[in-house]
Symmetry: D2
């Protein structure tokens, strides 16, 4: 069940880094949603390798094909199958990984779990797997846009290594984010980040950082009591991304240093509806959206692939030195921005359907 | 589907703060596991109100009854139903919440979602709901203890407000934790934490903090590729706890300030198996356990209930001042420690069964 | 996952014949449905043992208690826990089953599966387990009654052994069914059926038969393409009943002897909506309801418990003769009628929510 | 959730009659199972149109492609994506169905459900959808063959219209079945069936019938108590097939005319294990396999497509006469035989994994 996500808007992704391709099947999409291959392509292009000088140079057009579920430009309510063929696969570049486990990669754990692994390019653990997530979220985005007036989502790079940007989550726009190849909407910090990434590439080293995401226009009531709280499902979604090692909502870890009197968000009646004066809760209370901006931050560890000799063991249990070759992404965050959006969208769309399902009276 | 958790070891919890009681049904427990009401009671007593002077004085024996699924001291493989009756319910103490929404509680969001809510004691959003989690996890703990040699789990309070304790996750024991009423195994810091909580109670204020949890003896291979990564499912589990606002694994947010060369965990062959020299990964790589200690930290916001006047709105949309009365837990962390363990155990047990299910050859 | 049923209106049942009791938790019930213990009790009384001279004399009041999820007479949207205590348990009457397997019972297969079984009264395989189904369906019935105008369901005994009754499914009423202790609304046949059952009791033998069920007022559109067709989910629901060995819809097995020209149901426009002139399809086409009466028939094998000596083997693999003692139900069909209704209701309610969930635009 | 089937061995199918293609993704397949495209092609060829003179002449090579999840001839444990491109699509042949609803087809019910439908060739309701079922079952067949010694399954046409064949389910072989183009292993009856089908084709009429399936070598213990009984899950699987209107197990509907003393299957110890002398139970007792042959029969209604004028209504609600043109399959049973096997295999494989998952001690 590893590759299935969602309760009502369900996606099943498939594919390895090297193989016939990657893709996704969406089951449960509402009918009569207007969507096209172009709508999906726009989002895939945002996560595509080779889009700028600071990301991996793997050459993939990542051209998507809708194989089912859409008829005369609209969804049918039946499964939507979307496929992207692999093109620039170079299995030979990964030959030494057949025998040795790359440190902090999934090579050893996959082998331990399954007793077999596709060692070419990371197999199923490759970031290429996220294509299915982004493609299905492009459809979910259409569902939300066509059924929730005012829905909006923006993610952006907030921090890389020790470089932090001050960004106002209430006002930042997609255009500001996309105008920067590092997807940090604070121009000055963005410049430093790009320099740092280029230095890392030269040194064969890598860096991580923090992506912040704000979701606007979510009506009150999404999320479920107890296990499927909105933080819980968003948390699961985002911690399922490669290299993600932490997540926080609203005040998050910093909020643990406040008292209740400081942290509580007072209610007020404003513009015809119940609002909160502050938003330390990050738009979620008791696991359910309260109508305020949902704000979350995801921590990504530095990329495990570094172009330096590392000590490790091989399949036979012998100590070996491994010098990674091949294509190298010194910082995954710029390309992870649309993926963070994608996972958040899948969760919100699923909960939107779930909320309507139970509360239709 | 809000109250169902797990794929193979499935639990469905039920109950409100004020009502007939609270409980859980476990479906999918392996047969022939030795378990008794006493095994469950031990864990319930660790989360029970009134257990020390720093927690809520609500008087509940929290006496559990196994209603099905256990026969002559062993599990049958059929559903295990466990119930705890409510005793010290005081609905009248919550009468003002019938009309007004307590800030940063779930009152408003439940009303917005369902158009109805049980306003007595927080209803389903009450921490009393966690009894079912702890009771079912007590059974899961038995499954793990009887099928994984060397399995062990310890959670403890790492930080309250700005008071942080230095604790070595590799060596800390349950006994050390339980010897402190605040469940912080660093005696000096624990004393300060207790003082702070007592000050908060006097001031009608509250504090949050961080609980750390270490899970030992998990064999390599637990967790799934893609969506059901071990971090993802642990993340969901722990972010579903009341007041949880963040989670991190291994190096977590701090790891974003390291480079890949520093952060990668080199493999070595030790004691007959593959180990890592460092553990920045927190025991999980590619979403799958690698055999090292799994280490995670959960951020809890300060308790929303404070005994001070707060501005809010009522059901009619009018601005009102609310002065919370009733029983008050100025810091939930000491009682949250066994609950954090419980959720981690439920995830590990479920993934243990899932791993065996797919990899039985 | 054996004890969980439904996708959106989910029920988890628990309990054995001999033990603390039996019950069910409903997760996903819409909020603000008016329901009481009395509504549930009415249905439980229809399946209760001891209700007439032709059913098992086991004495159980089967008094239900709602433990959660209902507040001031309305559902909260949170889990509804319902419990019935066991009373007239007589474990000693089943002592010989500890060692020997009763023919055509679940004794051997449970032992083979789990390596353990509660041999008292059939344990989890007892028909007592259906209390949870009936109780949860009583709530689902309220959901349907309060959201689908014109919804109605009637089940009845159509055949016992070779005694068949001619009944017009289009006009039969609940009152006609309930006026007969054998729940066959054809008075003359009912009298013969009662005589047959009493003969069987005297002879220590048993009989089976066929229950027909008609569901009226289901709007077009319920059911899903492909796997979750309405016949598929109704089929699963009803074949999960103890002793059920077959099911058919509309023309069923007899329809295999017709040609397409005879069997197709022509459409016509009538009363402002699309209708069919005949109903060989049994109200379902392509797995989806078409607005006509849904008609199905379930085959029940003769009760496995007979009060005659039978050859079997014991746990040690030795050939033994077993003479069943204890309470004996020579024909389960009269009490199975409300249970058939219950399972059909659970399916229709779940699909009603599912349909609304995907098609809310 | 319409297109997802299974709990541990999960398949999600996709595709319409006319569109890019049809396919399936398998999630949860055990790793290291030897499987090839050729293994799948063999099964697809058994259900392929145009394979003999008595089936639809639609020309489809139905060539499958494995896109992921198999590496160097073995399953990886990750999702297996299989695709078949559509070739001989003739949308223009279905133009009149854009406006009018074909009697006893899914045209009206899909429109009523979704407010949109792909009217070309039946869209998602086309029997072409079953390609994904057969392809995934070909993989499941490999799992069973490689993990259960002695596993075997044979399905065959037992009855067409009023022509019934006497077949001994205990001895019939796949070779006997496949030697007949109508897939009835009783030569004399097969000849009459072929004649009848050819007559039906000439007359533009159609017939249905009964397929029987026997599953051998299933160990005792598969199936779950309560809702997921083996009959329940097999029932759901087979009633989800297009045109299926009934199912029975073992003695089935005929068993309702027997008494318990006649119907009970006495146990005996034979060949080192517990056996039953008769098999009225059809290999399943209490919902769990007992090690005997599992025997079931599925009733298929006559094909809804007939080449005769029929009265119906159009989308505007007007009465119209519809004369179906296009390709026509006067009897689906010969091609349904491998599909019946496929669904039974998917259920047995899933329950095999589920049984191992819970009972691994």
């Amino acid at each position: 069940m590893s590759s299935l996500f969602g309760v009502l808007f369900r996606v099943m992704t498939w594919g390895e880094s090297h193989g016939g391709g990657v893709g996704v099947v969406i089951d449960g999409c509402p009918p009569r949603i207007v969507v096209s291959e172009q709508d999906i392509q726009v989002e895939l292009d945002r996560r595509r390798p080779g889009q700028s000088e600071i990301v991996t140079p793997r050459k993939e057009a990542d051209k998507c094909e809708i194989l089912s579920g859409v008829f005369e430009g609209k969804t049918l309510g039946t499964p939507i199958s979307i496929m992207v063929r692999n093109q620039d696969a170079r299995p030979e570049a990964y030959r030494e990984m057949e025998a040795a486990y790359r440190p902090s990669h999934a090579d050893f754990t996959y082998q331990a779990k399954f007793g077999i692994r596709n060692w070419q390019g990371g197999g199923r653990a490759s970031a290429r797997e996220t294509i299915g997530r982004v493609a299905s979220a492009a459809v979910a985005r259409k569902v939300l846009a066509q059924t929730i007036p005012g829905f909006d989502i923006v993610a952006y790079v907030r921090q890389i290594h020790t470089l932090e940007a001050e960004i106002d989550s209430r006002t930042v726009t997609l255009q500001e984010v996309e105008s920067s190849i590092v997807r940090c909407p604070h121009a000055e910090t963005a410049t430093k980040m790009i320099e740092l990434i280029q230095t890392m590439r030269k040194e064969g080293n890598s860096v991580g950082g923090i992506i912040e995401c704000v979701i606007r226009g979510v009506p009150p009531g999404l999320g479920e009591p107890v296990f499927d709280k909105l933080e819980a499902d968003l948390g699961k979604a985002l911690l399922s991304l490669p290299a993600a090692k932490g997540i926080e909502f609203g005040s998050g870890f910093a909020g643990t240093r406040m008292t209740g009197a400081e942290h509580n968000d007072p209610y007020e009646f404003q513009g015809g509806r119940v609002r909160t004066k502050s938003n330390y809760s990050g738009g979620i209370q008791g696991g359910i959206s309260n109508g305020e901006d949902i704000v979350l931050r995801v921590a990504f560890k530095p990329t495990a692939t570094i172009l330096r000799p590392q000590t490790t063991v091989n399949v036979a249990g012998e100590s070996v030195e491994l010098a990674a070759r091949g294509r190298h992404d010194p910082c995954v965050l710029p390309r992870a921005v649309p993926i963070v959006e994608a996972m958040a969208i899948l969760v919100v769309c699923d909960h939107w359907l779930r909320h309507r399902a139970q509360n239709f009276l």
